[in-house]
């Protein structure tokens, strides 16, 4: 089982819960932590499920709801905003046909916004899974999205 093999990498110490949650979520096609997994993690760390849930719900990068295969995070903070003359968020929304915090019907993308991701020197930017795409133009953004979509057809 996926969760078991990740748990075995970590000592049975409660302070590793965030590391474990990040790893479990990353390995999952639908990018979220299920109740079943919470139970296993709590059992392994000898803590309560409610403690694991309180951690899970506090941190923005962790999700309790199923999401798409690729998580797109568009930066919406000021340094990106003032260098974005084509409206990156709208471009992505229009391409995917979903609003933010929604998943496409083919479950390939979930669109989210993010606070600054420390790449303001190459704004505007978006993060897809664990890669940041910088200095975006409208054409560049669409090309990147097409490539992600293409991989799945």
């Amino acid at each position: 089982m996926l969760v078991d093999s990740i748990l075995n990498h970590y000592p049975k110490e409660k302070d590793y819960v965030i590391e474990i949650l990040l790893d479990v979520q990353k390995e999952k096609e639908d990018n979220f932590i299920s109740q079943e997994e919470v139970k296993k993690i709590a059992y392994y760390l000898d803590t309560t499920e409610s403690h694991v849930c309180s951690v899970l719900s506090f941190y923005t990068l962790l999700s309790t709801k199923p999401r798409g295969k690729n998580i797109i995070q568009v930066c919406k903070d000021v340094p990106c905003y003032v260098r974005d003359d084509f409206n990156l968020l709208k471009t992505v929304k229009d391409f995917l046909g979903v609003n933010f915090n929604e998943t496409t019907t083919d479950r390939i993308f979930t669109l989210e916004t993010t606070a600054c991701i420390g790449c303001c020197d190459e704004a505007p930017v978006m993060r897809i899974n664990d890669r940041v795409y910088k200095n975006l133009t409208k054409d560049k953004a669409i090309k990147i999205l097409k490539e992600y979509r293409g991989n799945d057809y």
């Binding site: 965030i18 000021v78 003032v82 303001c120």
Partner: protein, 422 residues
């Protein structure tokens, strides 16, 4: 104007290669430091007059001395949570010269007698996380970390811990809670982390850039380092320059350089020949100042006139296409989202501030709204538990002084709009 100390290895070495670092004098200063007494190292740091680079500007030597005397188990933490909009210096340091951070951490650990260290990196910094993990592994394989470092009596290890998307975890007690595997909510001070930090043991927390300065200080000597910079702050500063300038980027300058020099000489001035409207200093929690104040120096002391600090060294430039209230609105949405929820004035206050600012954005503001906004930001500033609430409203406090006519004009225009609607 640039003075290159912290960024001397940038783009010159492969961050994945400890060999490159060793070839450029890497870990040489650690070797020397391990021959010194901890007290001698602390004296050099004291002489250097260095203050922390994470935003609050507290003298580093005082913090270290405060911990040194405690006996028990001690921890050291490198704060790499960098989440303040407009800041990217710590990412550059991690991605371009990771071993200098590790070297600074080992020297600090030896000085205060810590046995274990963490580097807490925000979860979005995937590349930096990968590079730091690799660097720690390489340092361990070369006995710069681990048992009996370089045949000395001293043993020390470092572990990477990832954040998971909460800006508040940059605040020191929220960070400690997060390392302990809990939601990142701050604790009431005192006791301070230097007294009771991680698992209640004394803990030294410093910013990435602060640690990187330590090998430089020992290399040139505290006295020579104190000569660098301005009358108020010693050393150089990494400046994250972003927004509407020709060349946004990371620049290293001595304290005492003016904001104008950074924007015009390094950043190439405002992009596309447009006019400068405003500059935000430090990031989303910093003041917004008008064009006529850019002759000001980059050092914390001068900013106390608006009860806020230079922060971690961000300069965000905005040209005159942008509306003041639109910018403030984005700042406040950020804090509304990032509030940890522990205290009411921050949790509820930011929600109300957002609503009030929206009235200004949409030309629906009245004189009464301005009064409410004023008293609300004072309450948030005065009564919140941690630095987030205490500084989040700097953009409003500063613009009420420097852009007062924008507030007045918006109220006038709102009135006109409502009259024509009748």
């Amino acid at each position: 104007m640039e003075q290159i100390l912290l960024s001397k290895r940038f783009n010159k070495i492969d961050p994945y290669s400890i060999k490159d670092y060793l070839k450029s004098n890497g870990y040489q200063i650690l070797r020397e430091a391990l021959k010194m007494k901890p007290k001698e190292i602390l004296d050099e740091i004291k002489l250097s007059k260095i203050v922390g680079r994470g935003g609050a500007g507290f003298p580093t030597a005082i913090k270290m001395a405060g911990i040194k005397n405690e006996t028990d188990k001690k921890y050291i933490v490198c704060n790499a949570d960098e989440g303040e909009p407009g800041n990217f210096k710590d990412r550059h340091l991690m991605e371009k010269d990771p071993h200098s951070i590790i070297e600074g951490m080992i020297i600090s650990a030896y000085t205060i007698g810590a046995y274990h260290g963490y580097i807490y990196i925000r979860g979005e910094y995937d590349t930096a996380i990968d590079i730091m993990k690799n660097a720690i592994e390489e340092a361990r394989n070369n006995n710069f970390l681990g048992k009996n470092i370089l045949q000395s009596e001293f043993s020390f290890n470092i572990e990477v811990r990832r954040g998971a998307g909460a800006y508040i975890c940059g605040e020191e007690f929220a960070l400690i809670e997060s390392i302990e595997g809990k939601p990142g909510r701050t604790r009431v001070k005192p006791p301070y982390p230097s007294q009771a930090g991680i698992f209640n043991y004394p803990t030294l927390i410093n910013n990435v850039e602060t640690f990187c300065n330590l090998p430089i200080i020992l290399d040139m000597g505290g006295k020579a380092y104190a000569e660098l910079g301005s009358d108020y702050i010693s050393g150089t500063k990494l400046i994250s320059l972003s927004g509407n300038v020709k060349k946004p980027g990371l620049y290293e300058v001595p304290y005492g350089t003016t904001i104008k020099q950074v924007i015009e000489e390094l950043g190439g001035g405002v992009d596309q020949g447009r006019n400068l409207k405003m500059i935000q200093l430090g990031g989303a929690c910093g003041p917004i100042i008008p064009r006529n104040l850019i002759d000001m120096d980059i050092d914390n002391e001068r900013f106390e006139i608006f009860d806020s600090k230079m922060g971690a060294g961000a300069i965000i430039v905005m040209d005159d296409r942008f509306d003041l209230f639109d910018i403030i609105h984005r700042n406040m949405k950020f804090f509304e989202h990032e509030s940890c929820g522990k205290c009411m004035p921050c949790r509820e206050g930011h929600r109300q501030v957002v609503t009030l600012i929206e009235k200004f954005v949409h030309y629906n503001a009245t004189e009464d709204d301005l009064h409410s906004l004023k008293s609300l930001v004072d309450v948030i500033h005065e009564t919140t538990l941690c630095g987030l609430g205490q500084t989040s409203i700097a953009s409003i406090l500063s613009t009420m002084t420097f852009f007062n006519e924008d507030y007045q004009r918006r109220i006038e225009d709102s009135k006109r709009k409502s009259e024509t609607l009748w």
